[in-house]
Symmetry: D2
């Protein structure tokens, strides 16, 4: 089962390794007639790009995208859109000392078990750089969604134990990019940053929670039993490296609620049957309700830490102590914001196109 | 996008409605050579069947399975295994009064938005009875897995706010079916049952958490980027009705942990590189580590409650109060145990067959 | 790779063996709002049914279809439509003598190689009875297509060396079911029937050619590189048992033509750019042109013959002579007509739904 | 339905246009452990490359392949192999005069109907240059197959009405690349070349037939009903531009044969049950028999001809005469040889990997 494609009606196929020549994506199923330029994609890649602040790895990459196909005179033709980014600042020799030592918390050992061979250079394909293809494909998805009135945005709501207060959608949109931890609550953001800096000084790392919101999602999106919208979102989010939990709406809180608390009553709003509350997070029975889709993901602390850890040298088959140096982020959630937005956008556009709600007819008039 | 099939190498296609003639499943990709009888499947269906205790709906169905194809002289032939269960105790007229009233917390309104038409009889296909096909298909998956040394079991770890204490795998296996709430901690089980009964008396319902464990999963299962084992599990679990959250290993707790706490160090165990702890829940980088796979799901309270709720009569387009009578479970997690086990088994067998680790060669010698 | 499902947007999953309990199909992706009854399906099954004339097997089966799900008050709900037919006239003991003897021209030996186990009773799943599921699913497809103005029909154009003269679409539609060989040229039909009877008397069988035509197919159906309409048709047709060749439009004749003969010039017809001729058979570059889609398939002579043939007794591993008795058709093309129509309909409806040209919106107004 | 991917277990996704920046392919599902270099792929691309003789277009492209991912130290890692070729000799302005004129026999008009937008530069994605991705992916497939003892080769057996005599496999392999028409019968090759030259002088083009053979295919490959080996081959072959017919084994000849002639009797060969003849072309019931797989395809004459043809100017909506100049092949079959080999290889490797017969286990020891 090839494992590098995502989506049914709008499908991305990503490729590339952290220290290979390049990374990229082929986007298939893009309707003809969409205005698309490299700047549209670069904007999202720039939010994902490393080296932007003290909370991310110092590896410096411009990550300039090239569109190689599928666009003629600035408009998509319906043909696959192939995009790539060249790797420029890879320092592979920095990883030689761990060639035979699986790093705790990383995919090193599971890749060795799966493939027999492992690209140890910067984590190979299991590196966070793999998400370049997702974000580039997600940028095309987001542009299509925006034409249908759907907006996707995410923010960090918890980092190193510090929680953001409850925020309005407007506050989130306005504030999220105003600080390096991408928390829309400025007070919490400050404390989060302290946690990041403290962890880095200790040679340690911290985890957090990211919330992803989609507004403008029409009611009636999702399949009945196995292509449920929430199932697809859960699969998409858990498939991002470092994510260990996903919840929709009330999420894990629902386990302690009663039916009378959890159920969203229906009211008439402007002649439409509408839920009065949104504990469901915009999805019931796997199908969208017309309310905002709300999802939260638990992100583990960066596995690369310079504190001493125990591992095994698989060449000599001896237990050893290891300190991970290389260049890495002390915390992942801030950089996961654009990636999680991309995955949400990819799920939504797949269902929108599959349902005929986005298509050439809507673009070419 | 047809939404009633699950799996790539081992694929189930389920069909049927709560009050239709029958419900069933076609299981495709079953390797030839597996000994399979109706008793093998009935055993799991009996654990899912309603009417067994005060914690489940009084609807009485024997749910006797018939195998219609794919088995010759008690052995699978490699051809699709078609199975069905006839509906016998459907009382459709009991649902006439809500024909035009979407029940809060149910899929009624989202189905109407999606399809324009809705089978209101007992929830139609969005009913929990839909899981009959999943459990029947899961029974075949579990039999295949057991021949490869993989065991899947689940238990209720939280219900109505009552939490079970930490338990060994042996305790879970021994105790889970010894009480009607399927909690392996007898003390907690008693308190959970009190919560269920209290909720029923109030005309209300309660939620909870189910934990699913798979032992014997070999290292190296899962695809690198989009067919990750944890992504597939998350999608499978979130796709069960009433599930609002999924976590693997440390799950949401990881957001407050440091890397030095979360990372599982490697040790040599019997000459094998093995994680010393299992915060990862048996999966890193989307690929199994050889440790037990551990997953927890948040299950919302049953949406059907007899307490008065607000909804809209879509025939007259007026807001009205509604009390849901019909026959329903006061809490879902105990009955979700065999369903969640089935989904875990379906994901695992799909990856095992896809990787060539289960196949005719292993059965026909 | 499970091999019993066909289609992407409209997907059938068939199951059942010649001498099992039943055969059936699950049809997923049927848009909500289609009026559908068992009579709609039975009509096509009756054309496929055996025992109707001297050119088909004397096995007598009523093949009465039951719809088990997906239809409420005579209208589809968008849920999977499960249908089955019970086997009644199976005489399995008649096949005991060939339990260990692969019949020349049949799938017996290749199934043994593939699965290790083989259902020898009437050919098991490799029997022509397997097509019941295809025809039942095809009937739903055809009803959907007819609402979009697309008609599919097929006829026998060659049998036992006798060729039908060229016929108009009207002649084909009027005459095809007026004789047992399903040839719309009455003169040729008479000679074909003589060939069938002569072959049967000799204990032999004959092959032929079936032509399938689809009218009303809109221009613009098909994917650019790998989901081409002609590729999908070719795969669908070659996947019918006994088919050894497929051609579209001019087909194999094009190999001797010049570009100036083969190319269809464009003219203006009623303000539309339209091909003046149809050597392309309605498809260029894998995408429909708006002209009728025309396909021909080569059907081999029935492999079951009573003439002595050489085979091997795989129990004793000795070469032996074998005469195939059982009940079988002396020629296949007449009974293949409804099967080939079904496969064409399944391909077309898949593309129509995938392109958003058939959907609930078009049915539910 | 995205239409630029092929295969299930071994999947290629191709992209690029005739006059775009580049063309390429992402190959997913390549087992880890295969020795792979750019030279392995270039060898096949060189056989496909234009400008090599008087029978192909004078467009001069080196078509040098770059491998961008999935290979470490000359060995595949199990990660997707991304490859590209830069376009260098595109002369887009040469196509300006047909920007609004659909060329007869080409996909111009059907693409316009499908997408609303059309890349007129050299045919865009409907150009034969699209097959670069197929051949590059096919080269990887062929290398994997060769390690399992499977060899795929093709040759031109008919061109412009001239037919090659019957040839042994050894003759085909030895002679096929010894002349520019890729016919292994030197006498016929000479006459074919005369036909090509005559057609070119007339401003016309000719069609032909290519035969594709696979030896070493193990018995038991293929799925029972819808993933049949012959169905997949037929779909793969008909999906190559300009192919209008596909046949396996006896093919269309079987329509005039009797069962006693067509059936391949079984004999014991070295203790194995083996067909004594191969009218089946190596496949019965959709599953391989162990005999060579034999397939023939009908290739239409090149649609680009300089003879005057009728078309419509879609800007002015007036009928006009058009002569196609540009650079094009006077006949396609010789250049189709490596493309058809690639598609056969892609189908076979997909089934071999899907059946577990090719995998990392077989490569990494």
């Amino acid at each position: 089962m090839p494992g590098n494609s995502f989506g049914h009606s709008f499908r991305i196929t990503t490729w590339g390794e952290s220290h290979g020549k390049a990374l990229g994506v082929v986007v298939d199923g893009v309707p003809a007639g969409l205005t698309l330029s490299e700047a549209d994609v670069q904007k999202d890649l720039d939010r994902r790009r490393p080296g932007q602040s003290e909370v991310s790895t110092p590896r410096s990459e411009s990550d300039s995208v090239e569109i190689l196909s599928g666009v003629l005179d600035g408009v998509t033709t319906g043909m696959p859109v192939s995009m790539l980014v060249w790797n420029k600042n890879a320092k592979s020799s920095a990883y030689d000392y761990i060639k035979d030592i699986p790093r705790p918390g990383h995919a090193d050992q599971s890749y060795s078990e799966r493939y027999g061979i492992r690209d140890h250079r910067g984590g190979g394909r299991s590196s966070g750089r793999e998400t370049i293809g997702r974000v580039a494909g997600g940028a095309v998805a987001r542009k299509l969604l925006s034409m249908a009135g759907i907006e996707v945005f995410a923010h960090v709501i918890e980092l190193g134990g510090v929680k953001a207060r409850s925020l309005s959608f407007d506050e989130i949109r306005s504030n999220v990019d105003s600080n390096v931890v991408r928390c829309a609550d400025p007070g919490a953001a400050e404390k989060m940053l302290e946690q990041v800096n403290a962890a880095r000084l200790e040679g340690d790392s911290i985890g957090g929670v990211v919330e992803i919101i989609a507004t403008g999602v029409p009611a009636g999106l999702g399949e009945p039993v196995f292509g449920k919208l929430d199932a697809d979102i859960a699969g998409a989010m858990m498939g991002i490296g470092a994510v260990k939990g996903v919840e929709i709406g009330a999420g894990f809180e629902c386990s302690g609620m009663k039916g009378s608390q959890m159920n969203d009553p229906y009211v008439l709003d402007d002649g439409q049957v509408t839920p009065a509350t949104n504990h469901a997070g915009g999805i019931t029975g796997g199908i969208s309700t017309g309310m905002p889709v709300i999802c939260r993901i638990a992100v583990k602390p960066t596995p690369s830490i310079s504190k001493t850890q125990q591992s095994v040298d698989t060449a000599s088959m001896k237990e050893i102590d290891v300190e991970i140096h290389g260049r890495h982020d002390p915390t992942i959630p801030p950089r996961m914001v654009p990636v999680a937005e991309s995955m949400m956008a990819l799920v939504l556009v797949d269902h929108m196109i599959g349902s005929g709600l986005i298509g050439p007819a809507s673009l070419l008039k």
